[in-house]
């Protein structure tokens, strides 16, 4: 069995009256890509700040590669590659200086820092921009530079908070491919994302958080099978027959969810449903189930914030 490289035990974080992270226990295994999903305010970023030793937990313990984070923050941070959600590039420095200066924080010698900087610029196709100032970069370039910076210390574990936010599809696929390669090289990844496609593509296991608590945790396929089934049937409804259909579905004990102008029915197939609802083939649509369906089922459709 793979070793757990990040272990959180009963971790809690409080801000005044708000419990941002509530008794979270996770085990992230070596070499896996572990997804942290959840709507805004779920506590993902707070959890990540604690795991990266930037903010102390109010309760519980965190161990990274067997080391207690509280006792050995420097040693732990030395093996982490952190890609933050907020752009915190050093605006007073050029692209190249951003990387070499960051390398210096990790005590990487000058020549080696230069070599590695060129290497990561090449990976994220930023070589041409190496003498540019940060304010001259587009949003997508900044994000790629944040990713490049996160690799400068050749991390054993990458902590990625929304790594592909604001990227165009080309750049997003470049990033996904690179993250896939890193995983193949054995780099463990903790990926915090709102993008379900990203989570389904990259993650071996995901956990869904809501209001500070962990709701569930498994591989994306297993979660889809458990909470939704292989397909989703969407019944288009209008204001006239909406209540009747909901009543029928409830009566036949279908597993469904009201999504506004459609009603989504889970864990079933077309025949079963038409048998019960009568002929409604024109307004019945069948599509493969996704992680997003699981997400909605568990965290609801209303806005949290």
């Amino acid at each position: 069995m793979a070793m757990a490289v990040i272990v959180t035990e009963h971790v809690t974080k409080k801000f005044k009256d708000l419990v941002a992270v509530d008794d979270v226990s996770l085990e992230i295994e070596e070499g896996e890509c572990f997804g942290l999903l959840g709507p805004n305010g779920a506590g993902k970023t707070s959890l990540i700040r604690m795991i990266t030793a930037v903010s102390p937990p109010a309760g519980g313990t965190i161990r990274v590669m067997g080391k207690d984070l509280k006792m050995y923050p420097r040693q732990v941070k030395a093996v982490l590659g952190v890609v933050p959600q907020i752009d915190n590039l050093d605006i007073d420095l050029t692209v190249m200086q951003n990387l070499t200066t960051f390398a210096r924080y990790f005590s990487i010698p000058k020549d080696e820092a230069y070599r590695r900087s060129m290497e990561v610029l090449d990976i994220f196709q930023l070589e041409d921009k190496r003498n540019s100032h940060i304010r001259e970069l587009s949003g997508g370039m900044k994000r790629r530079l944040l990713l490049a910076r996160g690799l400068i210390n050749r991390p054993k574990i990458m902590i990625l908070d929304e790594p592909s936010i604001g990227l165009d599809p080309q750049a997003r696929h470049l990033v996904w491919r690179k993250l896939g390669e890193l995983k193949a090289q054995g780099v463990t990844q903790l990926l915090c994302t709102q993008n379900m496609e990203e989570a389904a593509t990259l993650c071996d296991r995901v956990t869904i958080m809501h209001l500070g608590k962990v709701l569930t945790q498994d591989s994306p396929q297993a979660l889809i099978a458990r909470y939704v089934g292989s397909e989703v049937l969407e019944v288009e409804v209008n204001s006239e027959d909406r209540d009747r259909i909901i009543e029928q579905l409830t009566g036949c004990e279908f597993d469904f969810m009201d999504a506004g102008d459609t009603i989504q029915v889970f864990h079933t197939n077309g025949e079963e449903l038409t048998r019960e609802l009568g002929d409604c083939t024109e307004r019945l649509e069948k599509r493969p189930a996704t992680l997003e369906d699981v997400f909605f089922r568990l965290t609801g459709r209303t806005l949290v914030e």
């Binding site: 990266t52 420097r74 933050p84 907020i86 050093d90 007073d92 200066t101 210096r104």
Partner: protein
Amino acid sequence: MKLLSWRFIPMWQRNRDVFLRLWHVEAPGFIAEPVLILLAMGLGLGAYVGLIDGQKYIEFIVPGIIASYAMFSASFECTYGTFWRMEEHKTFDAIIATPLNVEDVIAGEIFWGATRSLLTGSGILVAATAFQLVHSPWALLIPVLSFVAGIMFSSIAVLFTSLVPSFYSFNYYFTLFITPMFFFSGVFFPLSSFPKIVQTISWVIPLTPVVNIARALVWGEFHPELMVALVTIIVLTAVFFCISLVTMRRRITI
């Protein structure tokens, strides 16, 4: 857990690199301004001022100008500069995700502020020497004094920065703390011209001991009271340095 280490050096280097890129924008403020003040006050006002022991007024104000501008350099760097990096650009957030701790980052800021004081103090000293206003080889210790005073003023500034909500708060810091020190620490006139109560207060505000030691170094004239000044500087520096690390950790690692 060891909180502070040699790792403050890369933070200091980061600030140095930025300074080396932008120094020509900042240098006029910190070298040209004090030299202009020195000449304007020294020659302009000085023409009307007669000092008791036959000293020229411009010579009298040199040490105070050095001490004050060393104070200004550190204070600007560790209020506006530190706040800019901490809040506007989240530079500290990025850095504390590396092996550097908050304490390393803040110590790097403080020592960088002190370095700015050293540069300013040395620059004015060179200008004053060129105008033949310095009379003792002891003045070679002025850079050291500027650096130590810089650590003290940077620490006080960082403490204030760790407590304020926005840039606007620094107006209070400068109008109610820094500027009064500029006028009530014996820079432009001897403290003995003030009422007793002002003299007493003046002795405990941090610029006064720096001005007194600077004056002794520039003239090569020492008296026992300078020991008190030196101890005051060392104690204030140690106390504010430690407090600022604690309050900054609270602010940054919420």
